[in-house]
Subunit: 359 residues, 2 copies
């Protein structure tokens, strides 16, 4: 899934250059690292990237080994359920029994080998007809993520070859800080990573039961695959599709209702980070002895715990701590590390001021 | 005097582009504002600018109306006494009785008309054989300036046409903060502005009495003016000259010794600022309602009392207060406003790292 249009890494990220195309605390752009992470397990010709038409060129530039058919174009942004449904009909067109690993293209995973072990285990369970998700073992009372509640908690975890699997009780929304603390202390909750595993047939069957209108649209698109009408049908059906997340449209009704499909979660300890804002770099990017995370030509004197990124030119701080400073060709951002999410306020102000060249 | 090589406005100021050639909180570069401020009183052909050879092009660029002879080149930097002595022999070559107004080229003066009234009064006194200086009425216990102690304090001030004149008791060095507070409270001290008024003959006579070696060198240079040997003599004599300030080499011995020359000070309230560092802009440059001083394309959200300067590109702050942020083509500076002097630490680090292109 490479449809993100994130503005939280402004000024580095822009409308036409969202986070997945940037190297943020990483060697390569996040989308490239995502594909390279899969390489030992998934042949390149089995990869499909779902993205908007305006990102096709960036994808080809970043991943020149991919064939054109690997890119599944969304005519417009319609959240994860339509996105995954569209991918599913393309996969099913080749092989309805194929297992799909649904992965965001803009996350960081520190432990690639362990990630691949879990991915292998999740795929094997998906082949047995389960819907599987990776749940991240929480390390702090984070309020920025959704959570997955285990059915019965840790004591229900099955252990096989060192892999912890549990049945999902329910998916829950981002909590407030007291609730997040309870979740953490209870040991019954994992972070929702947005990674899912199922066969194309199983997820389309779930769409048919829980999002029947979307399912009909997908069927219409599916029957046009390989014909001259595909683009027109896709455009029409996708634009009309309900904008809804897989969690809300499929996972919640399955886990809360009478649906017999088993939804399982594998507890993952893989150095995962959703790279949600500049301050997230402190969680995984290398820092100097004063805790400064420096990318590009950066100099910090008498200061600690800063995140400094320069695309060109020197960025020099003296007597400054706990700040985010980013320099690009055309802009500079300065904010407090703990307020890194507030960069959206700048983007909103630029939008209001019609500073299109900076968006 | 345009020999300054200030680094305190890094990254805007550089070795070859010191403060006097920059518009800092002003419309035009400080040297241009200095000349324009004199225009109603001093014809252009009476102006002499003393500067290093490497600044001649910048001066001509900034002040195209000046004739070449207006620029008096210092072959090397030797503090203010040799600088003023060199200017004095050039002025004396035309007219030994001419009054010299010795002015730094890189200060800000908010009240031009009042400045010219005081300059007129100071020149009239200089014509009578006095050495005159402008002393700035202090508004705070500033530790960054030298002070002038009045002989007998304010009660000795003579008032003529609204102009306060006193005899100087002595020139004193930059005080610590307790002493600065005493100075302020006593009412007997003014800030030393570095502006002096005297005839060329009188100051050269003072050089002869108090800096006789320098005076001989100046005499040798003087006798070569207009000859083919001038450049060679200047080079040799100036390089050998003692590097000493006018305050220390001339003013102190005159006021402390048996020298009969009256040294007088005119108390000035003219919105003077020596523009010593980025934070000084807050004292005179226009600010928005939140106290932010913004130059160039700058945006501050949820923040106050920042000084932001952008030479190119947007500089955006969110949730930041009391900071200095400067962006140029090749660098960004971020520091606390109250630590703006620490920019010299960055310059020192760049020097140590041999980052010549940034100096």
């Amino acid at each position: 899934m490479a449809g993100g249009s994130g503005t939280r890494f402004w000024p580095l990220s822009r409308r036409n250059r969202p986070k997945q195309f940037l190297a943020i605390g990483t060697e390569a752009p996040l989308i490239v690292e995502t594909i390279e992470r899969l390489a030992p397990l998934v042949p390149t010709d089995r990869i499909r990237i779902v993205a908007g038409a305006h990102h096709v060129d960036s994808i080809k530039e970043n991943l020149p080994a991919l064939k054109s058919e690997a890119i599944v174009v969304e005519p417009c942004a319609r959240n994860t359920a339509p996105c995954i449904g569209l991918a599913a009909i393309h996969v099913a067109h080749h092989d309805p029994e194929a297992v799909m690993a649904v992965l965001p293209s803009d996350h960081h995973i520190g432990d690639g080998p362990q990630f691949r072990r879990l991915l292998q285990a999740a795929s094997e369970r998906a082949q047995l007809g389960e819907i599987v998700t990776l749940g991240i073992k929480p390390t702090r009372p984070e309020t920025g993520y959704g959570y997955i509640k285990l059915d019965g908690g840790v004591d229900r975890l099955e252990s096989a070859a060192g892999i912890d699997v549990a049945t999902v009780d329910r998916f829950v929304e981002k909590p407030d800080s007291d609730t997040a603390r309870e979740y953490l202390d209870s040991g019954q909750f994992l972070w929702n990573s947005g990674m899912f595993f199922f066969t194309a047939r199983d997820i389309l069957a779930a769409f048919e039961r829980h999002l029947p209108e979307l399912h009909s649209s997908l069927q219409r698109i599916a029957s046009s695959i390989g014909t001259a009408e595909y683009d027109a049908v896709l455009e029409e059906c996708f634009a009309a599709a309900q904008s809804i997340s897989l969690d809300y449209g499929i996972m919640e009704p399955i886990t809360q209702g009478e649906d017999p499909t088993p939804v399982r979660v594998i507890a993952a300890d893989i150095g995962w980070n959703d790279v949600g804002h500049w301050a997230a770099l402190a969680d995984f990017a290398p820092a100097d002895e004063a805790g400064n995370v420096l990318t590009g030509d950066a100099l910090v004197l008498d200061g600690h715990d800063n995140i400094v990124h320069s695309s060109n030119g020197l960025v020099a701080l003296v007597g400054i701590s706990g700040a985010v400073v980013v320099r690009t060709d055309d802009a500079v951002l300065v904010c407090r590390r703990e307020e890194a999410q507030d960069v959206r306020k700048i983007v909103a102000a630029l939008k209001a001021a019609k500073r299109e060249e900076l968006l």
